[in-house]
Amino acid sequence: MSNRISIMVVSGSIERLQMAAMVASVGAVSGNEVTVFLSMNALPAFKKGASGAAPAEGVVGKLLSEKKAPPFKQLFEQAVELGDARIHPCSMAMDILGYAQDDIEAYLAEPMGLTKFLDDAAAGQAWSF
């Protein structure tokens, strides 16, 4: 049975990006239809070629980069490749940052607006990070 999981990510901290990536990837490979909406400070991490380093909020965030935790960008990409996930940049954040589709990672889908995200989210679980 397929369920819908909607994930809004607005933080640029490593802890929140990592947790969002974990929910997206595990959700997507477990038979769920996953939509990720990247806005605010979360989007710059997905600029093409961005390292995937992100500031830590606390002790676990610092440890994530020292230990062999799978990088959040790799998990998001696996959510798309191995599961049924679509990752959309927020159309407003794209405009604010002056990004075009070619500026962001190739596994990201087209920009999405809030109306569509909220409509999708109404049909299932919604998470925010």
């Binding site: 595990v26 490979v29 477990s30 230990k67 935790a69 799978p70 696996q78 191995l82």
Partner: protein
Amino acid sequence: MSKRRTIDARGSFCPGPLMELIAGMKMAEVGEEIEILSTDKGSASEIPEWIHKVKHEHVGTEEKDGVWHVLVKKTH
């Protein structure tokens, strides 16, 4: 005798071993057994949960010297 492949995910943290298993499952044939090695205790319980959820067969799990061996059979 059915084929078996081993995926070595020792040293990786959750959900790394699960994602490596799933990538391996995509390439495996139905009926094939896959053994995943993990030093992450959380993954040792998380992986059987996933196997059950997506209806593959959890053949067994054992721990040897701090390494968890989870054996799964691809059923579909």
